[in-house]
Amino acid sequence: MWTWFYKLASPPYVYGVAAALVPWALGGAALALCYGLIAGLAIAPPDYQQGEAFRMIYVHVPSALLSLTVYTVMAAASAVALIWRIKVGHAVASAAAPIGASFTILALFTGSLWGRPMWGTYWAWDPRLTSELILLFLYVGVMSLRSAFEDPSRGDRAAALLATVGIVNVPIVHFSVVWWNSLHQGATIVKLGAPSMPGSMLWPLLSMWLGFMLFFAAVLCIRLQGEVLNRERQSTWVRQAVKS
């Protein structure tokens, strides 16, 4: 099993695996998203408190969960790259950053639209929303730092350190509804014990979450190929890879 891990440190191997994974991940994502959308929009019954407005959950929750997951992936890849000096880690982190930032913007936007009918306001400076906004700033900071250096490898390492330091925000976002009095509701899925949602509403949500995850995997793999190519331009295996 460990040989597989060692192989993952090799740029041509990662390039090949990423290229192969894309169609499967995209196909799976399409299936999961289709089922989730149809079941979520048409089949799931309206919520007794929020009525039809609750359906925004089907894009808000997956995008918010993904914004945290992608940051964790980015931080983990950065830490691996810094500690074991595996350059592929920098490629993964660099590929993940813009995807994560876009999901964070989506989470903030959909949350804002959901907040207007439910709480009466498009925005509130409450712990969950504020920490999610800070997450967006961290993504932007990591991307800006990476591009601010003449030497790309130095930019990679600086951005990797910042990404690793910023991981403290991820548990803050998740536990903010527990630690403080928040306008935002508590956790319904990612917690200990049974989820506090009926099946007909839960299954489309899980499917959307899975769909978003698979979509992230697909887009990450596409970007990762580009990032690996950019970092390994001088290597001989690239000749074969760009033949077309």
Binding site: L37, L41, A42, P46, G51, E52, A53, R55, M56, V59, H60, S63, P98, I99, S102, F103, I105, L106, F109, T110, L113, W114, R116, P117, F215, V219, I222, R223, Q225, G226, E227, L229, N230, R233, V238, R239, A241, V242, K243, S244
Partner: protein, 56 residues
């Protein structure tokens, strides 16, 4: 299914549909941007190989 209630979403339609529309946009942007990034990287690699005299 495509009746009045579906599109108005119990009166919340003007919040629900922009949500899904923006989600669709974000997913689409991700795919487009990633594809563009990969194509640019391949182009850059090919150009460098050509300049070094190696024809890919």
């Amino acid at each position: 299914m495509m009746n009045n209630g579906f599109w108005s979403m119990g009166g919340y339609g003007r919040y629900v549909w922009p949500c899904f529309a923006f989600a669709f946009l974000v997913l689409g942007w991700n795919l487009w941007s990633a594809r563009r990034h990969l194509d640019a990287a391949r182009l850059r690699a090919r150009r460098e190989l050509q300049m070094a005299g190696i024809d890919p």
